[in-house]
C-alpha cells in the first residue's frame, strides 16, 4: 500500500467516522483534546495496512481509538517539547452550538469511571453487541455482561440525583 493510498483511506475514514473519535476524546480527557485526537489519528494511520475488513471500519476504529486513549492516560509524560508545537495551532474547535446539559453530565459521569469502564460504557452507548464488545475488549462475554449491569445501575442511580437536584 502506498503512502498516498494510506492517507486517502485515513481522510475517508475521518470524513465518515470522525464523530466516533470525538466521543472517545471527550470521554478520556477534559483538557488535552488536541493531544489525544492527534495521537489517535496517528495510530489509526499506522493501523491502516493491518486492516483486513474482517471487522467493520467502526469496530476497527473503536479498537484503535480506545487502545490509544487507555494507553495515553497511562503515559508518564504525554508529549515532548517538539510535539507540543503542533498544539499551538488548535486541531479541534469546540462546537458551542451543542449545549445539551444532560449530554455534558453524561460525559462527566463517564469521565469519573476508570479507563476500562469508560471503554465499556462508550461501546454500550454506541449499541455494540456483547459479542462485539467482547472482541474489542478481549474479555469474555460474561465479563462484559457483569460490567454492563454494574455500569447501568451506577449511571441510573447517579441520574436520579441529577434529575432531582441537577447535580
Amino acid at each position: 500500500m502506498t503512502e498516498k493510498e494510506q492517507l486517502d483511506i485515513l481522510e475517508g475514514w475521518l470524513k465518515l467516522h470522525k464523530g466516533l473519535i470525538f466521543k472517545v476524546v471527550r470521554a478520556y480527557t477534559v483538557t488535552d483534546h488536541d493531544d489525544l485526537f492527534q495521537e489517535i489519528i496517528i495510530q489509526v494511520w499506522h493501523s491502516i495496512p493491518a486492516f483486513r475488513r474482517e471487522a467493520s471500519v467502526t469496530t476497527w476504529l473503536y479498537r484503535i481509538a480506545l487502545n490509544t486513549a487507555i494507553k495515553w492516560t497511562k503515559k508518564e509524560k504525554k508529549y515532548s517539547g517538539a510535539e507540543t508545537l503542533d498544539n499551538v495551532q488548535h486541531l479541534l474547535q469546540e462546537n458551542r452550538a451543542q449545549t445539551d446539559e444532560r449530554l455534558s453530565w453524561l460525559y462527566g459521569e463517564i469521565y469519573k469511571l476508570d479507563e476500562i469502564e469508560r471503554s465499556v460504557t462508550l461501546l454500550l452507548l454506541e449499541g455494540f453487541s456483547y459479542k462485539d464488545m467482547s472482541a474489542i475488549l478481549g474479555i469474555s462475554e460474561s465479563n462484559v455482561g457483569v460490567r454492563i449491569n454494574r455500569i447501568k445501575k451506577q449511571l441510573i442511580a447517579k441520574s436520579k440525583n441529577y434529575d432531582s437536584h441537577g447535580i
Binding site: Q89, H90, G138, I139
Partner: protein, 189 residues
C-alpha cells in the same frame, strides 16, 4: 433517568458533533506522520549503530599487524557480538508482536511485553560495560595507559548507569501501570 433515555441523549450528538477539525492543523500532522518513529525502534538502532561504529573504528585504528594490542581486537569482537545479539532480539520482538490480537486485552499484553523488552535492553546496556571495561583495562595496562583508560571507563560507566537507570525505572513504572490495567480488565474490579 432510565438507560434508554441516556442512549437517546447519546445518539442525538451524532447529528451535531462536539468538535470541528481545523483542516490546516490536520494537514500539518499528516505531513509528519511518516516521520513518527517508535521509541523502541530508535533506541534499538541507536545501540546497534553505536556498537557497530565503535567496533569498526577500533579495527580501523588498529589494522591487523604483528605486535598489535590483542585486547583491542577483543573489544571490537565484543561490540560486534552485541550488534548480532541486538539484531536477534529485534527480530524476535517483531515476530512476537504479531502474536498479539488487536483487542484492548491483546494490545495491553503487547505493551507490557514491549515495556519488559525495553527494561531488558536497559540492563544489557548497563552491564555490558563490565566485560567491556575489563577488556579496556587490560588493553590500557598492556599499553601502559592504565590510569587514563581507568578514568574513561569510570566516567562512561557512570553516565551509562545513570541514563539506563532512568530508562529502566520509567519502563518499570509503565509496565506496572499496564499490568494493573490488565488485571482490572481481567477481573472486572
Amino acid at each position: 433517568m432510565e438507560f434508554d433515555e441516556m442512549k437517546k441523549i447519546w445518539d442525538a450528538q451524532n447529528s451535531q458533533p462536539f468538535y470541528e477539525i481545523d483542516e490546516k492543523a490536520l494537514r500539518n500532522i499528516q505531513l509528519k506522520m511518516n516521520t513518527v518513529l517508535r521509541a523502541t525502534s530508535v533506541s534499538e538502532w541507536l545501540l546497534i549503530l553505536i556498537n557497530l561504529g565503535a567496533g569498526i573504528i577500533l579495527l580501523g585504528l588498529h589494522p591487523f599487524k604483528s605486535g598489535a594490542n590483542i585486547f583491542l581486537y577483543l573489544e571490537a569482537a565484543w561490540m560486534f557480538g552485541i550488534v548480532v545479539y541486538l539484531l536477534v532480539c529485534r527480530d524476535r520482538r517483531i515476530k512476537a508482536s504479531r502474536r498479539f490480537d488487536r483487542s484492548i486485552h491483546g494490545d495491553l499484553d503487547h505493551w507490557i511485553s514491549l515495556a519488559g523488552y525495553q527494561m531488558r535492553i536497559s540492563q544489557i546496556v548497563r552491564w555490558n560495560f563490565l566485560p567491556l571495561g575489563a577488556i579496556m583495562i587490560l588493553s590500557g595496562w598492556e599499553a601502559g595507559k592504565l590510569a587514563r583508560v581507568g578514568i574513561v571507563i569510570l566516567v562512561s560507566f557512570s553516565v551509562a548507569f545513570y541514563v539506563t537507570s532512568k530508562g529502566y525505572q520509567v519502563n518499570k513504572r509503565r509496565k506496572r501501570k499496564l499490568q494493573v490495567l490488565k488485571e482490572k480488565l481481567d477481573t472486572g474490579i
